[in-house]
Amino acid sequence: MSLLVDDKTHQDPQAQIGGDHRIPDQSRAARTRSFDVDAFGVPTGREEEWRFTPVDRLAGLFSDTATDDRAGDAAAEFAVRASEEVSVATLAPGQAPRGTVLVPEDRGAAVASANTPEALHLAIAADAELAQPVRVDVAGRGAGRRSNAHVVLEAGAHSKALVILDHTGAADHTGNLEVLVGDGADVTVVSLQRWDDEALHLAQHEALVGRDAKYKHIAVSIGGGIVRMNSNVRYAGPGGDATLLGVYFADAGQHLEHRSFVDHNAPRCTSLVTYKGALQGDTARTVWVGDVLIRAEAEGIDTYELNRNLVLTDGARADSVPNLEIETGDIAGAGHASSTGRFDDEQLFYLMSRGITEDEARRLVVRGFFADIVAKIGVPEVVETLMTAIEEELSLTMGRTPAA
């Protein structure tokens, strides 16, 4: 009777058959990393890491093309709001700390890097505790217009900050985010994807977590035709704590893909990965791939990753793939859970048998599904934005027949 009937993870038939399409398993650590766009071929969809993505719709973002800025008319408008403790400047390619943490891991990220002559550099002074969030609003100014971005966030030792990246409008956007979390710092990054339907977005968010530092990355994907975000973490020393959260809600025609990679390369660090998503409508599609690598030197670490998907209507499909590579037995804990479930009619019946209307009952169940991750987010304004978006999404399907 639980909400989530543990379904088997979807198996790609191609992968089971083998043959041409099968890319041999390799360690996550062995993936190509390069600033050179040509180090990555244009994805065909047969590559392991692109097999879920509708690459045919992404040709524009794979082409090594400058941002489509015109006189007085940027492809995407960037508005930065930050208090005085934050220095706002730019970094050229190769100008440290740019490139010290983020090395592109796929073609989209390499294109973004190569075509961003001036990366936005946000530096938070050591020991500064920001009372207000730093905001970077990215407003796409037209579907199909190429937009490349690279943001470097450098949080000094023992600083405390919340940074919100908010994507709206439409563009063909490749966006990199490079985060240096200083020793003992406490940094939360929120990336909101509130794009219009036509927007396409590829992203690599890469963080290096300092000694005894805390890093929280929260991906909230509601809008956009295609969103594919990689949220990656490594550690600069022991004692680091990383929390990668994601919430997504896909409608008909949307492809929302989230990939996370926690590289446990230092001892006594922790990581918690939690992504939850709902899907509704024909061809609504979500993908979660959670990679965790526990290297030999990562003694005493603790990691857990979880993905849950709630399929609200027929025709939607969620893929969920946890990958755990363990190179040392000397760890505190490592686990994962992943499931995709349909809307539970028994819950609906129970609530309705108490007089609650079907629409209200569905709202309760969906809100309930997200309740634990919403509590983990802990940023009131983000929670509010998210809950409003969920209500709006739900009001779209009210009155439709539930998944059988």
């Binding site: 009777m1 819950q347 108490r354 634990d372």
Partner: protein, 252 residues
């Protein structure tokens, strides 16, 4: 004064390959203030009767009628039946992750009454009802039925009944899985609602012990999808002594 009339009710359940007939013509009338005990062997269709009245989508009514004060219950949606005054305390209450008891109760009450309850009274009502059912206040902030013990789930069902104040309640084995103290507490709850609102009760049970606390006006023996015999309290005692053999052989 409310009357629930069940007339020649026939119900089947969808199985993998065919529809299976379970209720084969049930006749029963329950008035406000009356308590009808339904006793019968496992699999005889008691829960099916309860679910069919509540409108569970798994059960298909193939014949007969259910009327609440003359209104066609079978034409109503599940939520409308509850709004009309029917309540089902389930044999296996469902877990609803992420929805707190307090939010659930308030939402249910609002839906039944058509308006939100006055906050001050409501908070007090919930508190009092929980206290009298000996439920820890912490339950209010737990998720509906999640991790509740069997007995806690049953108390939670009766808590809902006390707060919703239905006209007719069907209690499907509410006594099963309760220890002696809990049985008393839950029975007192049912009696409180009966005294206060004149609730009519259909009490499905396997045991006469609950009938020591909740006095039945009628006892019905339910066998093979229909009421095989009706009587008073003494019929229950006889059943406890003799079992259902007499009906099972006669029914074939």
């Amino acid at each position: 004064m409310t009357t629930l009339e069940i007339k020649n009710l026939q119900v089947s359940v969808e199985t993998e390959d065919s529809a299976k007939e379970i209720l084969k013509g049930v006749d029963l009338t329950i008035n406000s203030g009356e308590t009808h005990a339904i006793m019968g062997p496992n699999g005889s269709g008691k829960s099916t009767l309860a679910y069919a009245i509540a409108g569970h989508p798994k059960y298909t009514v193939t014949g007969g009628q259910v009327l609440l004060d003359g209104e066609d219950v079978l034409a109503m949606g599940v939520d409308e039946r509850a709004q009309a005054g029917l309540f089902l305390a389930m044999q296996y209450p469902v877990e609803v992750p992420g929805v707190t008891v307090s939010n659930f109760l308030r939402t249910a009450k609002t839906s039944i009454d058509g308006e939100a309850p006055k906050l001050r009274h409501w908070v007090k009502d919930v508190k009092v009802a929980m206290e009298s059912l000996r439920m820890d206040p912490a339950f209010a902030e737990r998720n509906v039925n999640e991790g509740f013990s069997g007995g806690e789930k049953k108390r939670h069902e009766i808590l809902q009944m006390e707060l919703i104040e239905p006209k007719i309640a069907i209690l499907d084995e509410t006594d099963s899985g309760l220890d002696v103290d809990a049985l008393k507490v839950v029975s007192e709850g049912v009696n409180r609602v009966k005294d206060k609102t004149g609730l009519g009760v259909m009490l499905i049970t396997h045991y006469t012990r609950i009938l020591r606390y909740i006095q039945p006006d009628y006892v019905h023996v339910f066998v093979n999808g229909r009421v095989a015999e009706s009587g008073g309290r003494d019929l229950a005692d006889r059943l406890e002594e003799e079992g259902y053999d007499r009906f099972l052989t006669a029914g074939v």
